[in-house]
């Protein structure tokens, strides 16, 4: 059942992204940035947490969950350290994602040559 829900929710999020690309004069970069912001916004009221509980990977894989993780980390740390915790906690949960992206990109660029 979780597989079906993951499939449908993930698909809907991506379909929204495609709709924006097709019908508005926005670039993929616009879609990525807005999705991150939306994910962060939805975490403010715990809405994105509920979506993750409902759909599992279908809500964790799209870039929206990156915004959610940034927000989540900031909120956690700020509960311990107050206002300054926002800045300290932002990349706690997202660090592994960012580091992996950089490492994989680096090794890919070393080994492969673009075909064009």
């Amino acid at each position: 059942m979780i597989f079906l829900k993951a499939f449908i929710v993930g698909g809907i999020i991506c379909a929204i992204g495609q709709f924006i690309l097709d019908y508005f004069k926005l670039t993929p970069a616009h879609v990525t940035c807005s999705f991150v912001v939306i994910g962060a916004a939805l975490d403010v009221f715990g809405l994105y947490d509920r979506l993750i509980k409902f759909a599992g990977a279908g809500a964790q894989l799209p870039i929206m969950s990156f915004g959610h993780s940034v927000m989540h980390g900031a909120m956690e740390k700020s509960e311990q350290l107050g206002f300054i915790g926002i800045g300290m906690g932002m990349f706690n949960l997202t660090a592994v994602g960012i580091t992996s992206a950089i490492l994989f990109a680096f090794f890919t660029a070393l080994i492969f040559k673009p075909k064009g």
Binding site: L21, D22, P28, A29, G116
Partner: protein, 334 residues
């Protein structure tokens, strides 16, 4: 001789003495593949970087005209050359190997006809014995510069175009050949208020219309004079707009209009709405249109190359896209 506001009529027997083209894999596999002289099966053209590959294409086309005519660099009086890349480096790095009085030109995708026009004016007024016009573009150098490196993988809308990987060179002189350069019209910069770099058709069509209309007025002819009016890269988006604008001016070019961006690729190739880039008009004109003229399938052609004169930074300053179109009229010698 200058006629009217923007045009020249070449009364002193100006001919395209010879042409040569070099293209990449997509163009070689397209419907006009047989008309190109040198064809590569990958976009690196035997070089290590995209920019070097583009230089190699230009070099192949230059050496192509030399081998077809047995001319050498010392026979060429002057060269007008350009491409799309910053500081037109592919062109410069090719011509550092050839000692020819050099003028770099930039007209974006109108460079082919801009360089051909200048060559014709120089030869017509005997300021040059043999003038060379060279133009190129390369899909990956253009993508990296104007948008993103192709490995970014960002999806593109259907109205986007695919920059042609190809170089075309023409030699212009008084030496009689089958193809005469009759006249030419220089464009003025026209800004239609468009600002979408992924949809250039609506931006460039008004410039093409202005040049064509002025060409007719300056030379006191109309659309019936030509068998074919071909634009450089309006492709599927811009062609209908051009036809509409000219209809409003009283000219109906629907049956004689075609576009290099539509001609160079087949419907089965993943090229969005068609080809673009200054190499597009160059290779189609110097490879395919030249053959149409030589075999008398058409007798009088007007080539209108359109260019969008923007860069990515100025667009981010909320500017619109000004465009220009240069036209050259070719006819077959009976």
């Amino acid at each position: 001789m200058k006629v009217g506001r923007q045009s020249w009529k070449f009364n002193n027997d100006v001919y395209i003495q010879e042409t040569a083209t070099a293209v990449g894999p997509m163009e070689a596999q397209g419907p006009l593949g047989q008309y190109f002289d040198k064809k590569y099966d990958n976009s690196y053209c035997g070089k290590k970087t995209w920019e070097q590959a583009e230089s190699q294409l230009i070099r192949d086309a230059v050496e192509g005209v030399f081998s077809k005519t047995n001319l050498k660099e010392k026979d060429i009086s002057v060269v007008f050359a350009g491409d799309l890349i910053n500081q037109i480096v592919p062109t410069h790095y090719t011509f550092r190997d050839f000692n020819i009085p050099f003028f770099g030109v930039y007209g974006a995708c109108s460079t082919s006809m801009e360089s051909l026009l200048l060559s014709a004016v120089f030869v017509d007024s005997d300021q040059a014995k043999i003038a060379m016009a060279a133009t190129s573009s390369h899909n990956m150098t253009a993508e990296r510069q104007y948008r993103n490196p192709t490995e970014y993988g960002g999806p593109k809308p259907d109205c986007a175009q695919y920059t042609v990987t190809g170089a075309g060179v023409a030699l212009v002189s008084h030496t009689a050949s089958k193809i005469k350069i009759e006249s030419a019209t220089a464009g003025i910069i026209v800004d239609a208020g468009q600002n979408n770099p992924n949809d250039m058709g609506p931006a460039m069509a008004p410039a093409a219309a202005q040049t064509i209309k002025q060409h007719f007025e300056d030379l006191q002819i109309d659309e019936n004079y030509y068998d074919l009016i071909v634009t450089g890269d309006l492709a599927k988006g811009g062609s209908p707009i051009l036809i509409d604008i000219l209809k409003g001016d009283g000219y109906n070019i629907k049956d004689i209009h075609d576009d290099c961006g539509k001609l160079i690729y087949g419907n089965d190739q993943p090229v969005f709405s068609g080809g673009s880039g200054c190499g597009c008009c160059a290779v189609v004109t110097y490879g395919f249109i030249k053959e149409l003229l030589k075999t008398k399938k058409v007798k009088k052609v007007l080539i209108v190359a359109t260019g969008a004169l923007l860069n990515p930074i100025i667009l981010q300053q909320k500017e619109t896209i000004p465009c220009i179109a240069h036209a050259v009229a070719l006819s077959v010698v009976e």
